[in-house]
Structures are given as C-alpha cells and as structure tokens.
C-alpha cells in the first residue's frame, strides 16, 4: 500500500534510535532537523520503503543516509561489520556521485577522528564508468559498505559473477533524482536492474527514493517499490516536503506593451531587469532553455553591465566537462555573481549558495518551474526566490498561468514508458547470463517492476523468440541467438561466449548521438545540426544556420542536404528539438484561464470606452479583473494580458479554451498559400499527433500535399492557395476518425520518415539488434545508422510486429508524441464534448501571430519576427478601429 505520511516525528523520536557517536556528531553539527529529516530518520529506522520529495539543499540526501550510517556504525562497534555491500546509492549523474562520496566521507572522518576506539571503519566508494581497473579490483577484494553508483554501472555489477556475491547482504537501496529517472528509459532500465537484484540475492531491501517534486507521487512511489508476485503494490511511505520550503516567485513582463515596444526597448529592459536582480543578490542562477540563449545572455550582460569572467559564467551541455566543473567549483566557493544555464543545472549537483533563480522564457512545465525555483535559498529555512521574465505574449500567458498553478500546487504529470521492449531485451539477455530460468519465473520477476507490471505475455514470448534467434533457421541460431531457449522445457539461459561481452559493452538506455553535417546540394559544408533536429525536418522546411537561411532537401545517413533559401521565411527554429514541449496539464490550465478571463472581459466588449481601454492604460479596469488580481504577476504583465485578450476578443470574437477549439482560415498572399490555424491548446506532443493525423486525412481527401507547423499552442495546416478546407471536411474527418484505427494509419505514414529511421536505431541499439560495440571495437554512429536501416528492412519483411519495430512505434507514439491523448481529443470532439468553430480572417487573429511566425523564433531572426508580428498586429488594430 502507498501511504502519504504527513505527521513529522519529534526530534527525540527521530534521534533516539541513532548510534551514540552519530547522534553526538549530528547534534553538534546541526541545531535542528530539516523537514525531510523529521520523517526519514524514524521511518527508515523502521525499515520502511520511503519516497521523499523536497527541493535541493533541504538535506534530503543526507537525511536518507544518517540512519544507514548509524546502523553500520552499530555493526562495526559490535564487530559485525562484514565485507559486503549494505547500501547502494544510485544517481543519474557521475558528478552527483562524486558530491555524495564527499558528503559521506567527510562526516565519517569527523566522527572517527573523535573516536578513540579501534573499530573497522565504514567504507564508501563510487563505482562509475570512470572507475579505474585498479580501484575495481580493490572493490572486489574489499567491497564498500556503501556503494555509490549509476544505473549503468549497477547493471554491470549485477551481472558480474564475483562482485554480485557482495550484494547478498544488501539492506538499503537509494535512488536519487528520481524525477530525472522515472520519466525515461534510463529509469526503466534501473527499475528492472533492481528487481533482478532482489531476485538474485533472494530477499528484498529497503528502498528509498529521493527527488524534487513530481506528480503523481503515488506513481513515483510505485516506480520505486514495484509490485509483489500476487500483483499488489509493495508498501511505501510518501513524504512530500516540497512545500515546506517557502517560495516566492513572479512572472514579469519587461514592458507594459510587448507587441508595440521595439526590440531595443524590450531587450534593454530585459537586461536591465536581469542586472538589477543580479545586483540585489549574492548569486543568481538564470535558466534560458537553450544553449545558444545561454551564451547570448552571458555575452550581453558582460557587454552592457561590465560583468567579466570572474563574475558571470555559462553552464550547459555543449561545454566541455572541465569547463563545467570549473564553473561548478566557482559556484561552490561563492565566487560568481551569476551563472547562466540552459537546463544543465537543474539536477541536484552541489552548487553552493544561490539566492535567486530567474527563468528567461517558460520552462514549459509547472513541476520544472518549481524544481528550478527550488534551487535557490541556502537551507530549508530560507525562502526560495525567483522570477520568470517573458519574451512574448503567449509566453506571458503561459508563465502567468504556470506560476499560478505552482502557487496552487497543481503539477503536471510525469509518465514512465511502459513495457519498453528494447530495454527488456537487454535485461533478458542479462538474466540469461545469471542462471537458467523457467519462463514463468522470469516473467514474474519482470512484472514486479513498475514499468513492466502490465507486460503482456505475448510480448515477453516475442522477445524470448527474438533473442533465441528463432527468426533465422536453426543452423544460424548459433550466431544470431543471444539466449539459449528450450521450447519443450520452457526454460532459457546463457548462449555463446560472445553474448556476455556484447551485454557488457552495449548495455544502457542512452543512445549514441552525433552531430549531423549540413551540406548544400553543391556539396559545400555549412555546419552541424543535432540529429534530433534533423528528425523533425520535412522537405521544404526552412531554418537558420550560421546566420543564413536554408531549405531542407533530403538526408543521407549522417548528412543533411539543404539548398539556399535566402528571402524565405523560416518554418522551424533551430532550438526546436532542444526545447521541452509544453505539458498537456499546463496547456489545459491555460485553456481554463482563457475561458475565465474571456468571461470577465465579455462585458467590456460592449462598453463604449472600449477603444480607450485597449489603447490607453486602463489601470482601474484591469485592477477590477478578479482572475488577474490573485496571479503572481507584475503590473506590466497584467496590462499586457488584458490587452492581448481584448484584442483577440474584439477581432475574432472568440477566445479558444480547453473545450472549445478555434479553427482559423487565413491566407498568406505573399507566399500564395492558405493557412488553417488550429488553436488546439493541448501541448506540443498532442499537437504533433493531431496535426499529422489531420494532414494525412486532408492530403488524401484533396489529393495534395499538406504542410504542417507544430507549436505548443496549436498547429498550422498549410495548403496550396487553391485548396479551401471547409467545415464539412472537418466534420467528416471527426466522424471517420471515430471508426478507423488511427495508430495503424499513423504507422503507415511514419514508417518511411527520418523519425522512424533514427528512433529505430536507438531502439535496435538498446535491444542489441544493432551493436554499438562489437568485440571491443566501437561501431561508428554512421555505421550503426546504416545497419539499423538494413535491420529494419529485414525485420519488417519477416514480421511487421517484430518486437523492436513495435517498440519504436511505441516510443514515437507514446513518448515523443502523445497519441493516446490526441485520440482522446478526437473522440471528445466527435462527441462534441470539445466544440469547435471555424472562422475566416483576412489578417490572422492575435492569438495566431506567435504560431505563424514560430519559425522565426530564433535569436538571429528575433528582430524579423517581432517586426512581422508588429506588422500583423498593426493590421489587426486598424481593423478593430474600423469596427467602431
């Protein structure tokens, strides 16, 4: 049973069970318990499984270790501390592991230095890909009592025959940064490793999960503890200390009128705001969402406000490890005034004292916003402070609603990939190396793990058949088979000497990624893009690289071929693949906000003073609007939101919301094409699926090619100017979609795309169908990609439902896109639970301006985009004026 635990224990209750030396040390060092410690010390001493969520700096990691250290100290005093691993700590980051190692070693040393007794000492060691062979051998002879490791290294250790012996006495397992694992395949991988470990040593252990806030906590707890064989979830206590730390945050608009202010003014104002916040605080952390944005902010702050390399620094994934470590070191020493990060500083590495967090532009998720703000404030007693500074009107609405939701503790939901067959392939191979298994026995172990609890037997058998090489003739199975399988006996086990090596050299969930070279059709090298970005490109897409515009033509294995497109409007910003998609839940919150605000504004549309309202500064009227009053936003923001909605309401007479979709037809005369803008506010992953389904349908119906642009707030269908999509088309579409198998339809469509080819490589590499390393030789990503395409072709021929193909579709539909929700939206539309209205505009309505200029949303293009939006806005305003 999962139990939410809300009653903290007293200090005495918490400390009474501790070893005397630990207790003395603890009380000398700390005056009081932090919120997580008020629960964890006692609960862990009672051997409870426990999930703790709390902001970083709240001592939650240490709170998990105190009881464990105390227990080990007791053992050593009794002379019963043996040569085995008592506790495993797993985190997704090597850097974090090094921090933890230090944070455990130092207290232990301090305690031992006070002791006069000569007892065997508690050993801590890290084991990651960086660990040297010598250290590994030492660990084998004298295992650490507390092992600090990563998911990948743990997977290797449980398959190491000699080392795994040391796990037999395991009592505790800690997963840190659970929120970074529970929503992806790395976490899925870890979850299976843990179940295998428990099965291998023949007993369960106390599981402790630590994380920043995430929702729903019950699912996070299930992820941590898994299920019993009878299908019941294992017991787990949840302690949510996220909100015990006070948070103060606000959404701010740099100017009172984002549309009409010039770039110079907006930019100047943003940097002025940044500077004044930085100056007020000791150390400020700025999140920019993209790496290029990070560099730009650092550059501009240095240029305009005389910061230098000693006071400000950038930190993001493209920097070398040494540079990042250098920045982290400076932060720990408190030397920096400001650090600017894309996303890399979200994780809980120790970065010392941060007293303010600024987010430049929306982080696209409520939970993420809370996690980021949580990085500020030294201890749990301090208040976490932060601001979100917005860059356009949609961003403004989004951030305002996001922070309001954060205030109300409405969080978006995370999702764990379920029944991922590629990861499971690895584990079945790993399991077969450990011993001979009965099918039922293995199937039961697998289903104890949360991500595989609902695994269909058929999928399991398909994997057994694949891995045993059943897809080739008997005489070739020696080469193809990775497990041995006896059909009559219903058992499987180890096969071949090479398999063990393949397992060790290829395991893990993170795909090898590589930069794609961009060439012109004349074979001239332009630069690099990320593979994830190339996956998103469709022929005809225009994007900016190195200040120039190029049109995507086609791709070769590791090359992207483009033609010159100067003068054309970009359709996709270069950071598209880098920026996280808006979550469904936040999109729905925005939809609800739109509905409520529209209701409140309705009365003003009848007012005579209307023009003055939207052109002047109607402070009083704005102050009267209830829904805006309580939001954590500044006056500029209030004013801008008010005007934005008024303009939309006046011009289009419609404000779309979560159960009413606005579909807007408009023309682009310059480009000679038609736009159908779907104000479909369900987040980008849902829109990704929705738009594709619609484009396939309309393409078939009109026998034409349909272009799509997908953004967070909706999507745009682009057709030739001769094609006129009517209400009837959409009605018929909705009707037909309720009868067809959408998944099959999309499959057919996605099969020959870059997305499929690349994602199949990821899945095939995880599923050991395409190797990344063979007999110790690294296989280049290029070669892997070619091999993956060959394997796909052949596997598809013998069985279109081949497990790895099936998994690739699942990954695309459920992880990259959100097809289940898109199907649900369509179903609700056909039942008219979600209504829609079709309008025609000569100039696109204000709510669509950011959508149709989305491709220009890049630094280099930012000026053009604002100009473009200002132009559209001017046209809208002149039309509104004519109405009166």
């Amino acid at each position: 049973m999962i139990t939410n635990y809300t009653k903290p224990f007293t200090k005495e209750e918490s400390l009474s069970h501790l070893n005397i030396f630990i207790r003395e040390w603890f009380e000398k060092k700390y005056k009081e318990l932090t919120p997580p410690q008020k629960y964890s010390l006692k609960l862990i001493s009672e051997q409870r499984n426990l999930l703790i969520t709390a902001p970083t700096g709240s001592g939650k990691t240490f709170s998990a270790f105190i009881t464990i250290m105390s227990e080990l100290m007791d053992l050593s005093l009794k002379g019963r501390l043996e040569e085995k691993v008592y506790c495993i700590y797993v985190s997704p980051l090597r850097a974090l592991n090094n921090d933890i190692y230090k944070n455990l070693s130092v207290p232990l040393q301090e305690i031992y230095s006070q002791m006069t007794l000569d007892i065997s000492k508690v050993r801590v060691a890290t084991r990651t890909g960086d660990t040297t062979t010598k250290e590994r051998q030492q660990m084998l002879a004298h295992p650490p009592h507390i092992l600090v490791t990563t998911p990948e290294s743990l997977a290797i250790l449980i398959n190491s025959q000699r080392f795994s012996e040391h796990f037999r006495g395991l009592r505790y397992l800690i997963i840190d940064e659970l929120h970074e694992l529970a929503n992806n395949k790395r976490g899925v991988h870890l979850s299976m490793s843990i179940e295998r470990l428990a099965e291998m040593i023949g007993h369960d252990f106390v599981r402790i999960g630590l994380g920043a806030t995430l929702s729903p906590l019950e699912d996070a707890a299930r992820f941590l503890v898994g299920y019993k064989d009878n299908g019941e979830e294992r017991d787990c206590y949840i302690v949510d200390a996220t909100w015990d730390k006070k948070m103060e945050f606000m959404a701010m608009s740099p100017v009172s009128d984002i549309v009409n202010a010039t770039d110079g003014v907006i930019e100047g104002s943003i940097y002025k705001m940044l500077n004044s916040i930085i100056k007020k605080n000791k150390t400020t952390l700025i999140f920019t969402n993209t790496r290029s944005g990070t560099e730009r902010v650092v550059y501009n702050l240095m240029k305009s406000y005389k910061y230098n390399e000693e006071s400000i620094a950038a930190h993001h994934g493209s920097l070398s490890r040494d540079m990042r470590l250098g920045v982290e070191e400076m932060l720990k020493k408190g030397e920096l005034k400001c650090v600017v990060s894309s996303t890399s500083l979200e994780l809980g590495i120790d970065i010392g004292y941060i007293d303010n967090v600024i987010q430049l532009g929306s982080p696209k998720s409520v939970a993420r916003a809370v996690q980021r703000f949580g990085r500020s404030g030294h201890g749990f007693m301090d208040i976490a402070r932060g601001e979100t500074i917005v860059t356009n009107r949609d961003d403004l609405v989004e951030c305002s609603v996001m922070l309001d939701a954060a205030k109300k503790r409405h969080l978006d939901r995370f999702q764990t990939p379920k029944n991922a067959l590629d990861i499971l392939s690895q584990h079945i191979v790993g399991m077969s190396q450990n011993k001979k298994w009965k099918l039922d026995e293995a199937y039961n172990v697998i289903r104890r793990s949360y991500p595989y609890h609902t695994l269909p037997r058929g999928d399991f058998m398909a994997l057994i058949n694949y891995l045993s090489g059943k897809y080739v003739g008997l005489e070739s199975r020696r080469v193809y088979g990775k497990i041995w399988y006896d059909e009559n006996e219903g058992t499987f086990g180890r096969r071949g000497k090479l398999t063990k090596l393949i397992y060790f050299l290829n395991l893990g969930a993170i795909p090898d990624d590589v930069a794609i070279d961009v060439f012109t059709t004349e074979n001239k090298w332009i630069g690099n893009i990320e593979e994830e970005f190339m996956m998103r490109l469709k022929p005809g897409d225009v994007f900016v690289l190195g200040g120039h515009r190029y049109k995507f033509e086609y791709s070769r294995v590791m090359r992207c071929i483009v033609s010159d497109a100067s003068g054309e409007i970009p359709t996709i910003p270069p950071w598209y693949s880098e920026q996280l998609p808006l979550t469904y839940e936040l999109a729905i919150e925005i939809g609800r906000f739109r509905e409520q605000l529209a209701k409140e504004l309705a009365e003003y549309t009848k007012s005579r003073k209307l023009m003055s309202l939207i052109s002047g500064k109607p402070k009083k009227e704005i102050d009267d609007i209830k829904i805006l009053k309580d939001m954590p936003i500044d006056d500029n923001a209030r004013n801008s939101i008010f005007r934005y909605f008024m303009e939309q309401l006046l011009y289009a007479k419609a404000i779309p919301n979560d159960h009413h979709m606005l579909i807007e037809k408009t023309k682009d005369k310059e480009q000679d094409r038609n736009y159908v803008i779907f104000h479909s506010l369900y987040g980008r992953r849902v829109n990704d699926a929705l738009s594709r389904i619609l484009a396939i349908y309309l393409g078939d119906r009109y026998e034409t090619e349909i272009g799509i642009n997908i953004v967070d707030n909706g999507f745009v269908i682009i057709t030739e100017s001769g094609i006129d999509i009517k209400k009837r088309d959409i009605d018929i579409f909705l009707k037909e979609m309720s009868t067809v198998n959408i998944r099959e339809m999309l499959k057919e469509n996605i099969k020959r795309t870059e997305m499929m080819k690349r994602r199949f490589r990821y899945c095939a590499a995880r599923g050991f169908m395409v190797l990344r390393n063979y007999k110790g030789r690294k296989i280049s990503v290029r070669r892997q990609q070619i091999n993956a395409q060959l394997v796909f072709k052949a596997a598809e021929e013998i069985d279109p439902d081949f497990p790895i193909i099936k998994e690739t579709y699942r990954e695309i539909f459920d992880d990259v896109m959100d097809l289940p929700k898109a199907e649900d939206i369509l179903r609700r539309m056909s039942k008219e639970e979600i209504t829609y209205q079709l309008i025609e505009t000569t100039v696109p309505s204000p709510f669509s301006h950011n959508m149709i200029t989305f491709g220009e949303a890049d630094i280099v293009m930012m000026k053009d985009r604002r100009k473009h939006i200002r132009e559209l806005h001017k046209q809208v305003m002149s039309k509104i004026k004519k109405m009166f």
């Binding site: 469709k538 033609s563 469509n749 394997v791």
Partner: protein, 250 residues
C-alpha cells in the same frame, strides 16, 4: 514494360527479359550478405535469398525463359568466399537447375565475385571473367569500361540505381530503378537495379555519379537517361533523370 525492341522490364520486378536470348537478366544479388554482416556484429534477419528466389521464380513463370544471365556480384565478400556465401550460392544454383529447370546459367563476374571460379564446374554455371557478348547484347558488370566496341546494346549492373521521393510530411521512399539511355557513341544501354534485398540503391537524381564510375566519366551521362522505377507490382516511368533532379530542387 517494353524498353526497346525485344527487351522488356518485367512489371514490378528488378529483372530484364531479352526475347532473342529467351533469357532473364539480373544483377547484384550479394548472396550471403547477412552471414557476412553477422560476423561483424549486425544480426540481419535472413531474407535476401528467400526474396531473390521468389522474384526469379516469378520472372521465369512470366517469361518461360530457359536462361538466366547474372550481370555480376552474385556474392558479397571481396576477400574470400564466406561459408554463408557458399551455402547460399549452392542453394541458389541448385534452385535454378533443379526447381526452375533452367538450361543455362551465365554469370558475368563482378567486383565482389572473387574466388567464385572454384565453384564453376560443381555448380554447372558458365562464368565470364570480363564481359559476355551474346547476339549483339553485351553484358558487363560496370566497375570497369567494357572492351567490346561494336555491340549495339549494353547491359550493366553495379550501380544500384534508385530514385528518392520525399513529401511534405517528411516521408521518404526510395524506389529501385532501371536506367535506360544512349552512350556518347550512341549505343543503347540499360543499367539494372540491384536484386539484393538490402540494397536500397543510390539516388541517381541527387548524387555525383561521375566521381567514382569510369563508365560515367568516359562513356555516359546520367541526366538524359530515363528512370523506370519498380513500384508495388508495376513499373513506373519517371522520365528523364535531369527532370526528376530539377523537381527535387524546386
């Protein structure tokens, strides 16, 4: 589809039929490919031979030919005959002789066909080391220029020609194709698509063919050639390569 007098491309198949010779012609089988790849750590399901057998059986049923001319690269490995290659080669020639009851099996050696000579007798095939001239038709593999200067009709393989098609939703299809046209000295030439299941082909409308091929350097321009693509069960005439290339860059 009729390509030239007495020369027909079979609907939906990468196979040519020449009436005068009562022969089907195909090229670039690369038998044993999966086995060779498996040795290097890529475990391709075996589908190539199965597919080739199916295709050739169909071609024989359609044409009642009693001869097959393989225009090079029956196998894959350069340095030796891999055990899987031998197995498949053996199975394939046996299939041609015993199941399809073909009278003549001709193989023009390609650049991948080293050491195949050992099996010429045992598999009762006729091996041509450079090129084969039959009744005015010259068959050569294509990695080198043909020696014969008189034949009126040339047939080559080696290139694996194909045409790539994209649409706005990002879908890419590659269709194998025959290329048909005239050499600079005005002889008719046809380039065969690859039989190998895994060979997607080289997109001739976007590539730089001249760089590596002596044939395209010395005797042939790809632009004016006609691309006849192999679709599902039918052939599709795509017109001139230069025109397809122009559309691609709109």
């Amino acid at each position: 589809m009729k390509i030239a007098e007495g020369v027909e491309a079979l609907e939906g198949l990468p196979v040519l039929y020449i009436k005068k010779l009562n022969a089907i012609v195909c090229s670039d089988l690369h038998l044993g490919y999966e086995g060779v790849m498996a040795d290097r750590g890529t475990f391709l399901p075996k589908v190539n031979l199965r597919n080739i057998k199916k295709t050739i059986k169909k071609a024989i049923e359609m044409t009642k030919a009693d001869r097959i001319i393989i225009d090079g690269d029956i196998k894959n490995e350069f340095s030796d005959v891999h055990v899987e290659e031998f197995n498949e080669f053996y199975e394939f020639t046996k299939f041609l002789r015993e199941e399809l009851k073909l009278k003549y099996i001709d193989l023009v050696k390609g650049n991948h066909d080293n050491f195949i000579d050992r099996y010429e007798k045992s598999s009762s095939i006729k091996l041509y080391r450079q090129e084969a001239l039959m009744d005015g038709f010259l068959f050569f593999h294509g990695e080198e220029l043909p020696k014969d200067k008189d034949a009126k009709f040339l047939v080559m393989g080696h290139l694996h020609p194909a045409i790539g098609i994209y649409n706005k939703l990002g879908i890419k299809e590659k269709l194998k194709c025959f290329l048909y046209g005239k050499t600079r000295d005005k002889r008719e030439i046809i380039i065969l698509p690859a039989m190998n299941y895994f060979a997607e082909g080289i997109d001739v409308a976007v590539g730089h063919l001249g760089e590596n091929s002596p044939v395209f350097k010395k005797m042939l321009d790809v632009g004016p050639m006609e691309a006849i693509c192999i679709g599902e069960g039918e052939l599709l005439d795509f017109g001139k390569v230069s025109e397809i290339a122009a559309i691609g860059r709109r």
